[in-house]
């Protein structure tokens, strides 16, 4: 089945479809995905800028709040009056309005005057305040990111210290570490110097603790990514790292909680935190792949203390890829279906004439010589169909010719047989009365007393009776075609002997009789006497037909039969330059009693008898003639005799 033209064609089409679609699938899918990924990466990079602006604007807002507070009349009068309680109250109001987590005033000497929170008026020493100390030093406004240690946070507000405490969670790909807990916090803070008529009075400081804060990251998510949801999860995520620990994030753990306490991958940490470079690429975040952008966060001292991150869930883009791939696969499958369909149709179209030809050949082999071939195709198969048709036509013609030949032959045989029977019967019947005529004519002739005139008449009767006797004898010879007495014979020798018999007659008549013996003739099994009489008959006929000065050529050849295709044999040809045979006589030439000779010069049985003899040898006798040019008789005899059932025809 796989060897049929149809299968091959379909497989070829399928192969092409698979190849084209497969390449399209790989190249197209990959290129498309890369383009999408690049697009996503550059977008995330821009998103990071937006996130940074949000971060910075928040710091700016803190600084602005502090600045305005520091020049406010309530704050000023309370500071002048050293009314710490009023000051603290004022700070609390401002902190609440500007959503600050810590806020306080530090004197020129570095002593904390008052602050918000439970421990608003500290007694004794307070832990070092990094941002206030910087302003004390520089006497200018400072704002930015600052890392606050546990002691400071605890002293400011134990709740803050507690909020800053972050338990580390194990994550894949994270940098391994020994500590289990992060106690320090990261804050966005600002501090402004307080001057009074050029005198430096102290510092107003305040800030927002970033640990566990949702403010910045969620604002990034909601404004930059517009809180786009994909399969129940936010596509856009933002994170603030303290060192490599997530302290503020909306990246979720598998349990749905914010992934606070998880650690950035070692690769990213090294790139961003250690080397201070921006990172934009795919990265494994907590539990998933994101298209990410990271940049380092520097604190007020210019130290890299953390990282800002934004990321987009890769799954969305992977899905785009999968959609593209599925589309390509659908196209591939459609292509294959089309290939099979087209292959099937084309193969059918191609193989229909071939199948019809095969069917036609079968019919021819079963004997139907005019089978249906179908419409002639315009392709190369059409040439085959035409050739096949021509072949059929020539077979039909040959068939017809052979049928005509064999019909003619059969007719001739039947004629021979019936005439043979007739001749036998007639001869027998005529011979009895003829006996009477012969007897009494001769008895009369014996008498001496008859007049000469009567004797002459009687002589005439006797002569003509003799002629009748010969005719009847010829008839008998014809009817009495005896069984063949065959023996292997050298045909050349037989023909030469026969020619020799006639040579004298030819010489006397002045006809040039020659014999050209063919080479390499096989021995033929035949009845020498009968075959000789056939040859003799033909040569004598030729001699009769040829005028003095003409010539007769007898030749032998290896010949192939025209009526028994493929059968080997020999042929004897006798060509004369005689008067020729008119076409109307050619067909009757082998009929019994047909003669063109003058009355008394032939019984008309010679060629008919010859025909019978040759036929019983399994051979054919054949003549070609042109009036005025001469005739050629050809006797063909098979070298391998087939069993012939008609050897006794006409005998008995």
């Amino acid at each position: 089945m796989f060897y049929s033209t149809r299968s091959k064609l379909i497989l070829s089409f399928l192969g092409i479809a698979l190849l084209v679609c497969g390449v399209a699938l790989l190249v197209g899918g990959q290129l498309l995905y890369k383009a999408v990924l690049n697009e996503a990466t550059s977008r995330v990079s821009l998103d990071l800028n937006a996130a940074r602006e949000l971060y910075l604007s928040r710091i700016k807002a803190i600084r602005l709040g502090l600045h305005i507070t520091s020049i406010g009349p309530i704050f000023r009068s309370a500071l002048e009056k050293k009314d710490i309680q009023t000051l603290v109250n004022r700070l609390s109001v401002v902190a609440q309005q500007t959503e600050l987590d810590f806020m306080g005033v530090v004197t020129r000497e570095g002593k904390t005057l008052g602050r918000i929170g439970p421990n608003s008026i500290p007694k004794g020493n307070t832990p070092a305040n990094p941002i206030a100390n910087l302003v004390l030093q520089k006497q200018t406004t400072v704002s930015g990111t600052v890392v606050l240690n546990h002691e400071f946070l605890f002293s400011e507000n134990p709740e803050l210290a507690e909020r800053a405490r972050i338990k580390l969670l194990p994550t894949k790909k994270a940098t391994p570490r020994s500590e289990m807990e992060k106690l320090s916090g990261m804050a966005m803070a600002a501090a402004v110097p307080i001057f009074d008529a050029g005198n430096f009075l102290g510092v107003l400081y305040g800030g927002v603790l970033l640990n566990r804060s949702e403010e910045i990251v969620d604002r990034v998510r909601d404004t930059v990514f517009q809180h786009e949801i994909y399969k129940g999860r936010s596509i856009g995520t933002a994170t603030i790292f303290l060192e490599d620990i997530r302290i503020s994030t909306n990246v979720l753990n598998p349990d749905g909680n914010r992934a606070i306490g998880t650690v950035a991958s070692e690769e990213v940490t090294k790139h961003v935190l250690t080397e201070g470079k921006k990172w934009t690429d795919r990265a494994f975040v907590v539990n998933d792949w994101y298209i990410t952008a990271y940049e380092p966060i520097e604190d007020i001292f210019g130290q890299r203390v953390g990282m800002l991150y934004v990321g987009v869930l890769e799954a969305k883009y992977a899905d785009v890829r999968w959609k593209a791939l599925s589309l390509f696969i659908v196209i591939t499958v459609a292509g294959m279906v089309l290939a099979i369909g087209f292959g099937y149709i084309i193969a059918n179209k191609m193989s229909r004439p071939v199948k019809q030809l095969i069917e036609a050949s079968n019919q021819v082999s079963q004997g139907n010589l005019s089978p249906e071939i179908g419409p002639i195709s315009k392709s190369e198969i059409g040439v085959l169909q035409k050739t096949f048709q021509e072949m059929l036509t020539s077979i039909q013609e040959r068939d017809k010719r052979q049928r005509v030949e064999s019909e003619t032959k059969l007719l001739q045989s039947e004629k021979q047989a019936s005439v043979g029977k007739l001749a036998g019967g007639v001869a027998h019947e005529i011979n009895n009365p003829l006996t009477g005529i012969v007897t009494f004519t001769h008895m009369l002739l014996r008498r001496n007393d008859i007049p000469e005139e009567v004797r002459a008449d009687l002589e005439t009767i006797a002569q003509e009776t003799e002629r009748v006797r010969k005719i009847v004898k010829g008839l008998l010879d014809f009817s009495r075609q005896t069984a063949l007495d065959r023996e292997p014979t050298d045909v050349n020798r037989l023909v030469r002997q026969t020619v020799t018999l006639v040579e004298n007659q030819a010489l006397i008549k002045g006809v040039n009789l020659t014999f050209e013996s063919g080479d390499g003739l096989p021995m033929v099994t035949l009845d020498r006497n009968q075959m000789q009489s056939v040859l003799l008959n033909i040569i004598i006929n030729a001699l009769d037909a040829t005028d003095p000065g003409g010539s007769i050529t007898v030749s032998t050849n290896i010949g192939i039969s025209t009526s028994h295709p493929g059968q080997k044999g020999i042929e004897v040809l006798c060509t004369d330059t005689g008067c020729g045979i008119p076409p109307e006589n050619l067909n009757r030439l082998f009929d019994p009693f047909f003669t063109t000779k003058d009355v008394g010069h032939g019984t008309g049985l010679g060629l008919s008898v010859s025909y019978g003899i040759v036929e019983r040898h399994g051979g054919t006798i054949w003549v070609q003639s042109k009036v005025g040019k001469g005739s050629t008789f050809k006797v063909w005899l098979p070298t391998e005799e087939q069993s012939e059932g008609n050897e006794n025809i006409g005998s008995g």
């Binding site: 001869a427 011979n431 009895n432 006996t435 012969v438 007897t439 001769h442 008895m443 009776t465 009495r480």
Partner: protein, 131 residues
């Protein structure tokens, strides 16, 4: 010399009688094999001249009967159908000679004389004389 001619055709009988009587033979003629056998029973003949093809019992039958009962009588078979098979067949069955119809008078007398001479020679030197 007595000769019995057997033939169903009157003209043949007439011809034979004419030729043989002219030669001085005593000729008896019959038209059938059965009548020939009747004649042979009651008369002696020196020679039997017979046809092959006859209605009812043919020459072959007659020849077999003659050879069986009167083997001494020479037989000349004449036929208007002188094929080699016919000639060979009758000679094998015991015919002394064969002559083809039509024959000229001299041909017949020659054959008859030959056969009779042969028969006489046989008779002249018998070891055990017969009749």
């Amino acid at each position: 010399m007595k000769i019995l001619v057997v033939d169903d055709d009157a003209i043949v009988i007439k011809s034979c009688r004419r030729i043989l009587e002219a030669e001085g033979f005593e000729v008896t003629t019959v038209p059938s094999a059965d009548e020939a056998l009747e004649k042979v029973k009651y008369y002696d003949f020196n020679l039997l001249l017979m046809d092959v093809k006859m209605p009812k019992h043919d020459g072959i039958f007659l020849m077999r009967e003659i050879k069986k009962n009167w083997p001494g009588i020479p037989i000349i078979v004449m036929s208007g159908y002188p094929t080699p098979e016919t000639i060979g067949g009758v000679l094998k069955l015991g015919a002394t000679q064969f002559i083809a119809k039509p024959f000229r008078p001299d041909e017949l007398t020659k054959v008859v004389r030959q056969v009779l001479e042969k028969a006489i020679q046989k008779d002249s030197f018998p070891t055990g004389a017969g009749g």
